[in-house]
């Protein structure tokens, strides 16, 4: 089994483009559900769908950009200073995102607040840089960045929609549950985020178990 996986990996590495890499990020190696990385921004900005999508797009951009640059320079960087180099690359992309967002949609920038510059210490990004982009070619790294980013965005979208619909009766700021709905306020407050992610991971464990059974 282990050997088989290893051969698969080796084959994948030699291929120029492999679309499986892209799909991996969305379910099989989803950064949130399976590896449990990058929880902080996920929980903090999932109070409203609009902010969550802003965060998702920022993460996709930083992840793809840094994967691209790191896989370009992977053969030049000496291995013992690689982590600081990666961090500088990531920080550059985070700064670009920070200032672009501040210029084009100041409201979302204000809502994301301190969590936007904190993408730099998001473990998903350094993890993918170290675990994937530093070993694979440029095209695959871009695909991996996109896949992982979209996987992250999907989860944050699910959490944010649940919290906003139950906690506020709205979706993207529009009222959908009617005026008679009495919002369950706790969901948009901090404890709601913990409840939703706990239940989401429990659901994932259930799906995994059912798969194993048959």
């Amino acid at each position: 089994m282990v050997l088989e996986n290893y051969w698969k990996r080796l084959k994948m590495r030699n291929k120029l483009i492999d679309f499986k890499v892209f799909l991996n990020g969305i379910w099989r190696e989803n950064p949130i559900l399976f590896i449990m990385l990058g929880l902080c921004p996920l929980l903090a900005v999932s109070g409203s769908v609009r902010d969550a999508l802003g965060m998702g797009i920022a993460v996709i951009f930083v992840l793809t950009g840094s994967n691209f640059v790191i896989s370009l320079i992977r053969k030049i960087v000496p291995s013992h200073v690689r982590i600081p180099v990666y961090i500088v690359v990531i920080a550059t992309f985070v700064t670009i995102t920070d200032y672009t967002l501040a210029a084009y949609s100041p409201q979302i920038h204000k809502n994301l607040g301190v969590y936007l510059p904190l993408i730099v210490v998001n473990c998903i990004i350094l993890g993918r840089a170290e675990g994937f982009a530093s070993k694979n070619n440029v095209l695959n790294s871009i695909l991996d960045g996109l896949g992982m980013g979209i996987g992250f965005t999907l989860i944050i979208f699910v959490i944010a929609s649940t919290r906003e619909i139950i906690g506020n009766g709205t979706f993207m700021g529009k009222n959908i549950l009617g005026t008679n709905y009495n919002p369950f306020l706790i969901m948009i407050m901090p404890p709601g985020a913990f409840f939703v992610i706990g239940i989401l991971i429990a659901l994932k464990q259930k799906i995994e178990k059912r798969k194993k059974r048959c």
Binding site: L37, P84, V88, V114, P191, G198, A202, L203, Q205
Partner: protein, 196 residues
């Protein structure tokens, strides 16, 4: 809130009202990962207090004496992360050389701290709130003290829940999140402690 010059209020608001883990959701990766037993969470908690206070003062100095005079505010993210990473490395070397007992106690937690977002966050927040140097120290003590307190309490509860009959699919991480939700609910109660 932070116009309040009273240091005690700054400390308390960072410690309880805006608790870094339960209300602001920062440093969660290490929180969920390490809080499986009390001993290691005490180690992590103390290491975080130590590093946060030092790193916050250092990055406050970097920002106010280096970035502001030369109008380089946009380099803030890069400068802070490099300051913290190099500080942790430097400190690890010194502690290993001079205080081997402390080094053994901190063990693997020191290098892990570089990627702990709580520390970078407290550096950013201190700058965002425009705190003075002394206020910044009180603030970072509050943040890291809150982290330390919550992680140790949480580890204690988690050790108990290990032996409790939990529904099959909630075993492990999911129940930890539900626990965190309940604790966070309790911390919401501190919101009315004093008028912000």
């Amino acid at each position: 809130m932070l116009n309040e010059t009273n240091l005690f209020f700054i400390f308390l608001s960072a410690f309880l009202i805006n608790n870094i883990l339960l209300i602001r959701f920062l440093g969660l990766c290490s929180f969920i990962g390490i809080s499986t037993n009390i001993k290691s969470s005490i180690g992590m908690g103390i290491a975080v207090v130590f590093v946060t206070v030092m790193a916050c003062s250092l990055s406050w100095a970097v920002y106010n004496f280096l970035l502001l005079p030369f109008h380089l505010e946009y380099l803030r993210t890069t400068a802070f992360i490099l300051t913290i990473a190099s500080f942790v490395q430097f400190e690890e070397m010194i502690i290993r050389k001079k205080l081997p007992t402390l080094y053994r106690a901190f063990g693997i937690y020191l290098p892990l701290i570089t990627t702990n977002c709580a520390i970078l966050a407290s550096a950013f927040l201190g700058i965002d709130y425009k705190l003075s140097f002394i206020q910044n120290i009180a603030f970072s003590f509050g943040i890291s003290g809150g982290y330390c307190f919550v992680i140790i309490t949480f580890a204690a509860i988690r050790e108990e829940i290990e032996i409790a009959p939990v529904p099959e699919i909630f075993k492990g991480v999911p129940i930890a999140f539900i626990l965190a939700a309940l604790m966070s609910l309790a911390f919401l109660g501190f919101k009315g402690l004093f008028k912000l």
